[in-house]
Amino acid sequence: MIPKTNLKPIIEIKGLNKSFGKNHVLDGFHLQLYEGENLVVMGKSGSGKSVMIKCLIGLEEFDSGTITIMNKNVSKINQEELDEIRTEVGFLFQGSALYDSMSVRENLEFPLRRHTKKFGKIEDTTPMVIEALRNVGLENSINLMPNELSGGMKRRIALARTLILQPKIILYDEPTTGLDPITSKEIILLMKSIQEKYKTSSIIITHDIDCARVIANRMILLIDGVNYAEGTFEELAASKDPKIEAFFK
């Protein structure tokens, strides 16, 4: 477990509330992510995990609460500042979200060419694209189109696209959902190796217990929009609370 003393969280969520009409999805949710940490947020479908992560990156507006990313309160910054933060926070979508009208190369070049502030004007993006693809073991797929890729390959390419911006934080929205057990395991190990290589911090939204076991430094159980329990995988696995036990059975 990452020691928290003297560490300032790089992401901090306090009292997050979000409702869709009369449906209260998040009710005072709070979270801290520390540097180099892999934090797994686990919960049943519809418990508000994906809504929380979308609020975090500014894809969803929240009703009240504060979200601070790298000392910046996201609800008090302008679009330009938010875009700058977004270059430091990678997001891996559940369905990969590859741009299907672009080849793998174009998918990876797309964010790179638009961030001249961070990278300067890059004349030749090929070395960076190949490096990102090598990290996920798919350097030979550079000229393929998304419809020519399997589900697991799509997930890896999406991860490469996230990595190419060299983010400090990566948010994973159910990274193993919809994949077979072998491919899931490959993706989990890939996430772990990336975290070790680039020293990124991660929030992983999942209900895959194997994923949590391998990758989590710390876990939060999100039930009915509130932090129900928090601790290491071992601590939560040893709990006798029936609601917590249900996840580990």
Binding site: L59, R86, T87, F93, G95, A97, L98, Y99, D100, R114
Partner: protein, 259 residues
């Protein structure tokens, strides 16, 4: 007691109009901002222009052909067959060419944009652009609206030329009129006041097709059913808007004629 529910019924309509106006306002705000997505703009121009060319050409040709075939017997009865080129020319250039081409493009291009952006929204591709710190509105919407606005007048011109050629073929077969004579009659009757309003109108038609297609697709509700609805609504709303623009354009043009 009469329960007056009209405001509730029309509320969504006015909300939609407001949202569309905001969406259009954002276009004018973003269009002059750097970076300019020239490559994507040219790609969209190619797709929209090149891929609609055959459809617009075939439709224009048939309209010219049918229009002349239908009106010829009546005009012959009045001994006015020699006025066919002039009549076809003015009707095609002023009204039939722009509105028919725009309606075809609303079906062909507007629904395409609605479906494409709708599926991008549903599969989180637009969200992916946003979280990577790029501006999806600028890349997807501005380029498409610019492309439709620019390509529609070109397609209208192309459709007009083909329609007039279709009309000539009927006259050539039935009236034994030479190509040079026919074209002389077509061009001589035309004035700037015929060509300029219809060209300006075509730019507005193109803008409306791009705007509504993008608006419906970009704001598509989640789910595959939403994509179908977005494509369908893009065509229906655009077609309605085209007739409104056409009416306003004719109204304004007539004011200038009166002056």
């Amino acid at each position: 007691m009469i329960n007056f529910k009209l405001p509730e019924l029309v509320k969504p309509f006015f909300i939609e109009i407001g949202e569309l106006a905001y969406f259009a306002g954002k276009f004018f705000k973003e269009v002059f901002k750097r970076p300019f997505e020239f490559k994507e703009f040219l790609r969209q121009c190619f797709y929209m222009g090149n891929r609609s060319l055959l459809l617009v050409g075939v439709t224009g040709f048939i309209i010219g052909l049918v229009f002349t075939l239908q009106s010829r017997p009546t005009l012959e009865n009045f001994g006015a067959a020699s006025w066919i080129p002039a009549m076809v020319s003015v009707s095609i250039i002023r009204e039939i060419g722009p509105i028919i081409t725009a309606l075809i493009c609303a079906g062909r291009i507007g629904s395409g944009i609605g479906a494409e952006l709708g599926s991008m929204r549903v599969t989180e591709q637009i969200d992916a652009m946003e979280v990577s710190g790029t501006n999806p509105y600028k890349y997807l919407v501005v380029t498409r609206i610019m492309a439709t606005t620019l390509m529609l007048p070109i397609l209208v011109f192309f459709g007009d030329v083909i329609a007039i050629y279709g009309s000539f073929l009927v006259e050539y077969v039935k009236g034994d009129v030479s190509f040079v004579l026919y074209m002389n009659k077509v061009i001589n009757i035309l004035e700037f006041s015929d060509v300029i309003p219809s060209t300006i109108k075509s730019f507005f038609f193109g803008f409306a097709i791009g705007l509504v297609g993008c608006f419906k697709g970009y704001n598509c509700k989640k789910g595959t059913a939403g994509v179908g609805k977005a494509a369908n609504a893009a065509v229906v709303y655009t077609s309605m808007l085209l007739f409104i623009i056409d009416f306003v354009a004719v109204f304004v043009t007539n004011i200038f004629y009166d002056l």
